[in-house]
């Protein structure tokens, strides 16, 4: 007779996998081309410095791909 038949176990490994996949999806849009991401950020920063007198230390450029956000 299995004892755990009567205890309703809820803490399986499925939710862990789900959370890990969600984290991967949010953190890795530029993982496959870090060099391209760097170049693009440099170009954007050049454009900003053309119009405003900000030092590059005063701001941060972040790219969020909305369309692919859900996909790992």
């Amino acid at each position: 007779m299995k004892v755990n038949r009567f205890s309703h176990r809820q803490d399986g490994s499925g939710p862990i996998a789900r959370e890990r996949l969600k984290l991967m999806a949010e953190s890795a849009p530029f993982e496959h081309s870090p060099a391209a991401a760097r170049r693009m950020k440099k170009e954007i920063s050049d454009i900003i410095s053309r119009y405003f007198e900000f030092s590059p230390d005063d701001y941060e450029i972040r790219v969020v791909l909305k369309q692919n956000r859900k996909r790992a």
Binding site: D11, G14, A17, R18, L21, M24, N68, K70, R71, A72
Partner: protein, 269 residues
């Protein structure tokens, strides 16, 4: 005018070839004229799964190089009406050189057949781009395993950038018992993560191994996977009809059976 559908997954071993063989057989049972193309050069397997490995005379590359006529490269399945296959070559170095020829071939095949199912190799290199290049729509096959879902996500991102009319998701090797115990990603989890709803969910089934050992599609047997493949095939044949699952067992009845000493099936729900 038929449709060219590529079955792809990114990760290997999730059941692309099994799915193609059974969906192909299912569609032919629904009176559709179906051709299956294996583009997994070097590692061809569709012929073995279908039990046709001893009938191969010419392959896809021979056909693309005009070394044979279409009729010579086609292998007809004697067990199913209107089910044909073209096997892959055992070696091919520069696959991308044949891309335009494949497009011409598939445009021609679409005039003769209702469905042209393309078996894509694993990975996202040249073989993947070759297989997808001539397709109208794609089916991403995945299993509810974390690595397969992640690779499926990458493949969907790549497919998004190509001119496909539709991208569908098909979940294979689904173990409902493990999902109930919260030990496997559920259908909803996979759908949420990938942002697509599944066109079919195929349960993990030991009989698939048995059927492949014999070289017959699992559709020739009577198991849960057979029903799931037929439901998926109907979804391809009649996309507007919403399937109703009449075989779903009530959870109370299942629990009752277990308490009365019944053994819960290892694989199926």
């Amino acid at each position: 005018m038929g449709e060219a559908i590529v079955f792809t997954s990114g990760k290997g071993g999730v059941g692309k070839t099994t799915t193609i063989a059974n969906i192909g057989a299912g569609l032919s049972r629904l009176d559709k004229k179906v051709i299956m193309l294996d583009t997994d050069m070097g590692l061809r397997n569709l012929d073995v799964v279908m039990g046709m490995e001893d009938q191969i005379q010419y392959n896809l590359i021979d056909l693309l190089e005009n070394k044979c006529r279409l009729k010579q490269a086609l292998i007809r399945d004697k067990r199913y009406p209107n089910l044909f296959m073209i096997p892959a070559a055992l070696r091919c170095r520069k696959i991308m050189d044949y891309e335009s020829k494949l497009y011409t071939l598939i445009s021609h095949l679409k005039q003769e057949f209702d469905f042209c199912l393309i078996d894509c190799p694993a990975g996202i290199e040249d073989g993947f781009h070759f297989a997808v290049s001539a397709a109208d729509r794609a089916v991403v096959v995945t299993s509810p395993h974390i690595s397969a879902v992640r690779d499926a996500g990458r493949v969907i991102c790549l497919l998004d950038g190509m001119r496909l009319s539709q991208i569908d998701l098909l979940i294979n090797a689904y173990n409902a018992r493990m999902v109930r115990k919260h030990d496997m990603l559920s259908q909803k989890d996979v759908e949420d993560i990938l942002g697509l709803s599944a066109i079919g969910v195929i349960p993990a089934d030991e009989r698939i191994v048995v059927s492949q050992n014999k070289g017959i599609p699992v559709l020739s047997m009577h198991t849960k996977a057979t029903r799931a493949f037929m439901t998926a095939a109907r979804a391809f044949a009649n996309p507007r009809v919403i399937p109703v699952d009449l075989n779903k067992e009530d959870p109370c009845i299942r629990q009752g059976k277990i308490y009365l000493g019944g053994k819960e099936c290892e694989y199926e729900g």
